[in-house]
Amino acid sequence: MNKTKILALIWVGYFAFAFLTSCSVVQQGADVLGATGQISESDKQAIVKTSQAVQATFAEITEEQEYYIGRGVAALILSRYQVYDDPSLTAYINTVGQSVVYFSDRPEIYAGYHFLVLDTEEVNALSAPGGLIFVSKGLLRRCKNEEMLADVLAHEVGHVTAKHGLQSIKKSRLVDLFGIIGTEAAKRYGPEELAQLTNLYSSTLGDVVDTLILRGYDRKFEYQADTLSVKFSAAAGYLPQGLVDFLQTMVGDSTAASAKGWFKTHPSSEQRIEKIQTEAASLKDGLAGEPIRTKRFQKAVAGLK
């Protein structure tokens, strides 16, 4: 067997290791092979580096870390917006949200889903990673029934379940993060590692907040969240038409010119409506509107100031 083949076989073996085991294990494995002289020091470094780069994707962020990213993003959102503090409205929004969450594809996340109303007339909805979801007063005013609210919340839950927020984190940060996690056995960090991690954390929050508030998600993520909204809300028993009805209120809206909130960060309503209607067509069977849902919605928002 020639040297190239041998090297290729070792690589294949190590790629299998990389997929089956964690980053730190690959590091240890490379150490063992390095110590026995089966691979050179440079090969060892290359294996460890490759395994870190391969694993440096948003999908490798643990749920606990997603939660801490979400908390930071939520704090930054709340530094820009006041909370509309109405306990009974908050309870209602959370109950509608939870009804949709139960039928989502990730109903259980690290610390659960939580919803808050923002005290702004801007029409907006924001979802921080880890299930911290915000809807504005201006958005609630556009909703005429529970269907519309539930479908908008389902769209936001979709962003969370598909980890769209985490996908806005720059790759270089993930490589650095997994580098530190992979080499440090400690869970309590010394001053140097802590400073590195805190810097990374700060830039990570910046990546997510910039995307959520300033730039908006990639169009494909908005369309995917619409698809998930249709799926989750229909499974919960809500008519997906609610999302269409909500988007209709935005068509030809003169305030869109001010390009704030939702208007700035989402694709045009017309394009989305067409796509949602096609997707919802096959799911309408057995779904019906319920006057009692509209009644309780109207009661919940009646006191909106």
Binding site: G13, L20, E108, G112, Y189, T198, A236
Partner: protein, 161 residues
């Protein structure tokens, strides 16, 4: 040179087989959840489970899984609350015992954690976490969601008279 290559291949195969065999053990990856009597979120909770708890899968694939705790309590958990246990290759290599670890568990508390948040907050004293903490505490009891769904003819109550 041939023997180490052969053994690498054999070890790789063994790991694969053991990972498949180990698929029956699950680890809780969310902060807390309930082992429920029936496959529904609003079913009575038999035992509370916390991150890192190990349970054994009896049946189910996606959605609801029927599981058994170490104490022998049988109930249901949602698949999004657990992950399949992964084997720690090096632990086996060192002791030849079937020690195991799961990535969420092995990585618990690592990276962006409470300590990092505290350090970040120390550098941003103007940033308030009051509402973030309040928000996390908002919990709608499953029984309330059930009543809400029943009243609104949602979920399994749709079409009910």
């Amino acid at each position: 040179m041939k023997r180490p290559i052969a053994s690498t291949a054999v070890i790789s195969l063994l790991i694969l087989v053991m990972c498949l065999l180990a698929a029956e053990t699950l680890i809780v990856k969310v902060q807390s959840t309930g082992l429920r009597k029936n496959p529904k979120f609003y079913a009575p909770v038999l035992v509370n489970l916390s991150a890192g708890d190990k349970i054994e899968k009896i049946s189910g694939q996606e959605g609801w899984l029927q599981v058994k705790t170490a104490n022998g309590v049988v109930g249901w958990v949602h698949s999004s609350a657990v992950q399949v246990q992964k084997f720690d290759l090096m632990a086996m290599d060192k002791s030849m015992k079937t020690q195991a670890s799961a990535s969420e568990v092995a990585l618990a508390g690592k990276g962006f954690n409470k300590q990092v948040e505290a350090d970040y907050r120390a550098g941003h004293p103007d940033l308030s976490y009051v509402w973030v903490d309040k928000m996390i505490l908002i919990k709608v009891p499953a029984s309330k969601v059930e009543e809400f769904m029943r009243q609104g003819k949602l979920g399994e109550f749709r079409g009910a008279k």
